[in-house]
Amino acid sequence: MWEVLGLIVAGLGLFFVGVKMISENAKQMASRRLRMLVARWTQSQLLASLGGALSGFVTQSTSAATFIVAGLTSSGLMTVRKALPIIIWANAGCSILVLLAVLDIKYAVMLLLGVAGISFAFSKSVKYRYAVGILLGIGLLFYGLQMIRSGASPLAEVSWLQSFLYRIKGSYVLAFIVGLLLTFVSQTAIGIVIVAITMTEAGLFSVDQTIMLIYGAHVGSSLTTWFLGSGLKGTSRQLVVLQVLFNIVGVILFVSLFYLEVLGHVPLVKKLVSMITLELEQQMAYVVLIFNFGIPLVLSFFLDPLHRLLVKISPPTQEEDLSKLQFLHDQALNDPETAMDLIEKEQLRLVKRLPGYLESIRVEKTGEESPPYETVHNASTVVATEIQSFSIDLVDKNLSHRTSERLLNLQNRHSLIVSIEDNVYQLVRTIDQTDCSARPQELIHNVVEGLHTILLTTVDAMESPEEYNIDLLISITEDRGDLMERIRKMYLTSERGLEVADKSTLLYLTNLYERIVWLIRRWATLLKSAHRLNQKDKQ
């Protein structure tokens, strides 16, 4: 029993690590070029559907396919709308295995884990490492699922379970529940369906019961997906909801047809499969195929309303909204000057967020609800990376000397904004997590209010880059090394009675503050150069 439990728990652990690895590495790899490639591939619904069916066939798990695609959508490699055909047709691909009976991918997974693991450990190229990280994540995900399966498989051979199955003979509802529960525990609908078909051949179940068990297994698969996806939010969760809806809606439809056929004697699915083949095993396999091909076929005509429903059920998170670019688009690359104007607009969005980081630690509240600084930091990192990639793509264009000069200035300013953002985030996080005694709180408060003022002045300078505003910013960010040293000494003298931990926090915070002010000054100086360049052009 302990071995069963151990295998299931360890399998779950590996599964979640795998999901995380796919998502994290895909995020790192999600360069604009790669995104454009995937976007082109998913542009065609037919290609996306075929890709989905193939992924379902290869992965043998709709849950796995759902989470792999969810990782790709959360990293921005693919939109949810484009991922819909992939997910629904993954169900069809997965069901082909029932017909093929069993295809053991155990060794393929081991091979993948070995090759990816060794490559991951010894790879030196960063880009290559991310790609290998995704493969390793997929390997871990499958290995985890296999551990769960092998942990749960002895359950099917337990004598009390077999006698229980014998006792429920004749009940459709109980067969449905058995299919549901066994799939939820074993994490494999297809596996349970194959076992059930085998048991039908052995006379343990009637044909009607097996059909209901197949439908129950699909609901169990939904429960599994729902359970594994409970940690997902926003657009990534939309795909989980889709997978759950796929099975639930399908089962409601097919169970209704089942009762209509059994009780109303209307020739439907059962009649259809008996016309295709006389073999009992194959008939049941066709039931699975009709279910998993029929639903995607119908849903393919309703992808837009389906997407709207998913957005309603699981709207994008605040972080996802904040991570979206507002001005940059690929077509803008054709006109470098416009592209640079748009980069500046995106940079302004990042700079405008900076004062909001301090709201959570300020004594004085502005009344405006600011998103949590962790959320803003994560989202800003995504936006900053996008801007960076866009400006790198711009370098490849045939730029004039003057345009190159402007772009270089813009790129340098961008690096500084990224550093400023990161340092402000570090400062806010440190203050938020520090419980200093009363005296240093006074200095912390002064630092926070001082920095808040400087950041607001930075926004002013960027919004209206007039000479006066920029000069003002340069003036208030003048080197304050001596001043900060004096303040530090004042607070750190032993008479103040500060704890050692408080002293080191104060040192860290004042150093961070000095660094932020220094970075803003460098940024303002570059802004001034850009402003002068602009003025010169106008003349």
């Binding site: 300020r362 004594v363 004085e364 502005t366 006074e442 200095l443 002064n446 630092v447 209010e449 001082g450 920095l451 808040h452 003022t453 400087i454 607001l456 002045t457 006066y468 003002l472 003036s475 208030i476 960010t477 003048e478 304050r480 001043l483 303040i487 503050y513 002010v517």
Partner: protein, 110 residues
């Protein structure tokens, strides 16, 4: 916040008393704008009674100095409490404002 005003020669003196925060900043800003729009060029803000200042207060002073600069006027500050002075130092405002220890000293400097 209590705001009292008086005229000493060519200098218009504002004496602030209380907390100079987001709550009071609007009032102070309105009073300063009113005086600037009347054509006053030399403003002195006496911060002796201010025991607390936030970024909202600092921004009001910054906005006033911007407005006065356009009309060749000037705003000066005096009598900052050590706590308030520290905020000014940290925000870099001691670089852009002339700060005096007493009202007399500040008035004579115009």
């Amino acid at each position: 916040m209590q705001i009292t005003q008086k005229q000493e020669g060519e200098v218009h003196i504002f004496s602030l008393n209380g907390r100079f925060d987001a709550h009071s900043a609007g009032n102070v800003e309105n009073e300063l704008n009113l005086v600037i729009s009347k054509g006053e060029h030399n403003l002195l803000v006496d911060l002796d009674g201010v025991e607390y200042i936030s970024s909202a207060g600092l921004r009001v002073l910054l906005a006033a100095t911007k407005k006065l600069k356009k009309g060749k006027g000037e705003i000066k500050l005096c009598c900052l409490k050590p706590y308030v002075k520290e905020v000014f130092d940290i925000a870099g405002f001691t670089q852009i404002f002339k700060i005096y220890n007493t009202v007399e000293e500040a008035t004579q400097s115009f």
